[in-house]
């Protein structure tokens, strides 16, 4: 169990209410004591040390903090950690297995879908949500699904190609 009240775990006034929340993160049950005002992104990064989820803007605009919440993409900088109690959260760390990259990760590698990589975890999670609903998306559908995620480097073209690549691979795997 991790306790987290502030960025710096300094003296916490005795009257600060905390709550115990249990969240299934990447398939594993994690229990954390949090202040209600703690954001889900900060719980993931600081309490659970899952720093793959980035915070880019902190103003709900960039999508770098996108994770899957019960299978749907959400901006984790805009949800309270207490709201995740009893729910299922998937982060970019949940994509790869010990020996293998997820097809989406492989796609980003093959098609050069990242440069600095800051936006990438959010892009990948939004792509995962898309491919779960629509295994054979058109380029327009990919651009639509990623329109809440900003990238300052790539110009998006290669990100779209990466998702196309992943979709094809996942369909091929499905067919096997």
């Amino acid at each position: 169990m991790t306790s987290l009240y502030e960025e710096v775990p300094a003296e916490v006034p005795a009257n600060v209410p905390t709550r115990r929340v249990t969240v299934t993160v990447n398939g594993e049950k994690r229990t954390v004591d949090v202040e209600p005002r703690l954001l889900l992104a900060h719980m993931l990064r600081q309490a659970l040390q899952l720093t793959g989820t980035h915070t880019g803007c902190d103003t709900t605009n960039c999508g770098a903090c996108t994770v899957l919440f019960d299978g749907r993409p959400i901006k984790s900088c805009t949800m309270l950690a207490v709201q995740a109690d009893g729910h299922d959260v998937e982060t970019v760390e949940g994509l790869a297995t010990a020996s293998e990259l997820h097809p989406i990760q492989e796609g980003f590698k093959q098609e050069h879908g990242l440069q600095c990589g800051y936006c990438t975890p959010g892009m990948m999670m939004a792509s995962k949500a898309l491919l779960e609903r629509n295994p054979n998306p058109t380029e327009d559908e990919i651009r639509w699904a990623l329109s809440g995620n900003l990238c300052r480097c790539t110009g998006y073209q290669n990100i779209v190609k990466s998702v196309m690549w992943a979709a094809e691979k996942m369909r091929a795997e499905e067919a096997e």
Partner: protein, 291 residues
């Protein structure tokens, strides 16, 4: 950015939520999708003592058509529920078209229709559709329910007519008198931006005659512009080039745009006129095809 400290409740029934709001005498705030409130908490534009999270009140998660055609949208109906809805796809074209234009796809998985209307942002998309469709909000307080017509619901920018101990439980859209047609067009600089200008049009038709006409505008005034009066020139008429031109003129006159970083006042008024013409001509064309 950290919100200031608050206490947190996540009731599972409307009665409980209302009781908490009532006990806290105006110091508690409702948390729905959080897509406007959480950013405000982080910027400390809002620092309530307590949040009442309604996301666990499963009974509010619906949108449905009554047998008479009345549409009811529960307080937990998310933007994306309407975007992908089979229920409203044909019956409520104005809402169906607006759904895909609210914010971005990820914000739409959380943000709620009712929360957006409560937030009363002058640039909000749903408030415009509610005015055009003559909708109303059902509020529940400690002494029961009351209905508030949309035109009375928003009392100013970011303020609504709810009492501190009332929860908006659903939005209601009355049934069409005849066949419902309409549209929603929005000009945005990029996905997720608020409207530079947007136009909601909702008509009821009997054959090719307009029996009711509703219109509202977002982004072109200090509040959502109620253009119902302006578009009423169409009532009793058919959609012709002349009647469309007259309506578009009247509606553009009702806009009250200001010059800002999104464009000049003249430009925005021009967009309004163009969008109204485009929506009405589109309706006229598809009605002709159907006939």
């Amino acid at each position: 950015m950290y919100p200031s400290r608050f206490a947190y409740d996540a009731p599972t029934t409307v009665a409980e939520a209302v009781a908490i709001l009532d006990r806290n005498g105006g110091e508690a705030k409702v948390l729905a999708g959080g897509q406007s409130l959480v950013p405000m908490l982080k910027l400390r534009f809002a620092s309530p003592e307590r949040l009442v999270d309604i996301n666990n009140i499963k009974a509010l998660d619906y949108h449905r058509l009554d047998p008479d055609g009345t549409l009811r949208i529960g307080a937990l109906c998310r933007h994306e529920d309407l975007e992908f809805s089979e229920i409203i796809k044909d019956s409520h074209p104005t809402l169906a078209q607006a759904a895909a234009l609210v914010a971005d796809p990820i914000v739409r998985t959380r943000g709620t229709f009712v929360g957006s209307v409560c937030h009363a942002d002058p640039q909000g998309d749903w408030a415009a559709t509610m005015i055009a469709l003559d909708g109303r909000i059902v509020a529940q307080g400690p002494n029961g329910r009351r209905e508030i017509a949309m035109r009375d619901f928003v009392s100013g920018p970011f303020t609504n007519a709810l009492a501190y101990n009332e929860l908006a439980v659903e939005a209601v859209i009355p049934p069409a008198k005849g066949k419902a047609v309409g549209g929603y067009l929005k000009l945005e600089r990029r996905v997720g931006d608020f409207a530079t200008a947007s136009v909601a049009v909702a008509l009821d038709m009997n054959g090719d005659v307009v029996t009711r006409a509703g219109c509202a505008l977002a982004g072109v005034g200090g509040k959502t512009i109620d253009a119902n009066e302006a578009i009423s020139v169409l009532v009793g008429k058919t959609l012709t080039a002349e009647s469309i031109e007259a309506a578009a003129e009247a509606i553009a006159d009702a806009a009250d745009p200001r010059t800002d970083h999104r464009g000049s006042a003249d430009y925005k008024r021009h967009i309004v006129k163009t969008f109204v013409t485009r929506i009405l001509s589109g309706i006229a064309r598809s009605e002709q095809k159907a006939a």
